[in-house]
């Protein structure tokens, strides 16, 4: 039940970001200045955290999507679906532990 809520909320969030992201990238067709100006906002501290949240939403939606496919296709996965929820959260933690330090160093460390 909770994973169903997680899947829907992350899905909706990603969908709205995707539309904004296509619109901001479309500015490359307007002028280099227009694109650089808007994309500059992605490099501010506030957006650094929003981006981290976005990557988290994508990682969670992706791993849970794989769990849903597994539970649909295999009775083994159906019987072990609770353990698979744990696998989703552990995989998610590993991805974020890899991504966050790198991203925060880029954003704040100037590296």
């Amino acid at each position: 039940m909770w994973m169903w809520v997680v899947h829907r909320t992350t899905g909706v969030a990603i969908f709205f970001f995707l539309m904004v992201h296509v619109l901001d990238t479309a500015l490359v067709r307007v002028s280099p200045e227009a694109y650089n100006d808007v994309i500059g906002h992605y490099k501010t501290p506030l957006y650094t955290f929003i981006e981290a949240g976005l990557v988290a939403a994508i990682a969670l939606h992706a791993l849970n999507g794989l769990r849903v496919i597994a539970v649909d296709r295999s009775t083994w996965a159906l019987r072990h679906q609770k353990q698979l929820v744990w696998a989703v959260w552990i995989g998610f933690a590993i991805i974020m532990l890899g991504f966050l330090p790198r991203h925060l160093m880029h954003a704040f460390g100037g590296a």
């Binding site: 995707l18 296509v22 990238t25 490359v28 490099k43 994508i58 992706a62 991203h103 954003a107």
Partner: protein, 149 residues
Amino acid sequence: MAPAPELKAPKKGISHSTLGRTQRWSWIFQRVSGVALILLITIHLTVNLIMGDGINQIDFAFVAGKLANPFWQWFDFVMLVLAMVHGSNGMRMIIDDYARTKWMHATLQWALRIATVVIIVLGTLVLFTFDPCPAGADASLLPSFCEGI
């Protein structure tokens, strides 16, 4: 002992499928595109946010350098179409679940369809009509290969 009752031929089997043909295809598409998108988005985020300078490297020159290459044009095109169709297919199911009145349901579904088509068409036009070295632009904002042109 009474004779055994005459048995009629069984009725035609009942299909236990709860999905129609369209719904089944939408379900298969959601799974196939989902797996493909995991691969595409992992590459997209690795190249843009993890490798090199991460978020700091993203500017016009970076995007122009990528989109001057047909590989990235087609990569981004496939990712754009799959992500938008996957996302709007999910949104369609959510609207089906929560829109209470007929009017609200129709309005939201049409708004979703229009937004999806507009974003896919806009994104595709940008990817394939894009000029990495626009005439008259400030040379310091352009990718280095524009110098020779």
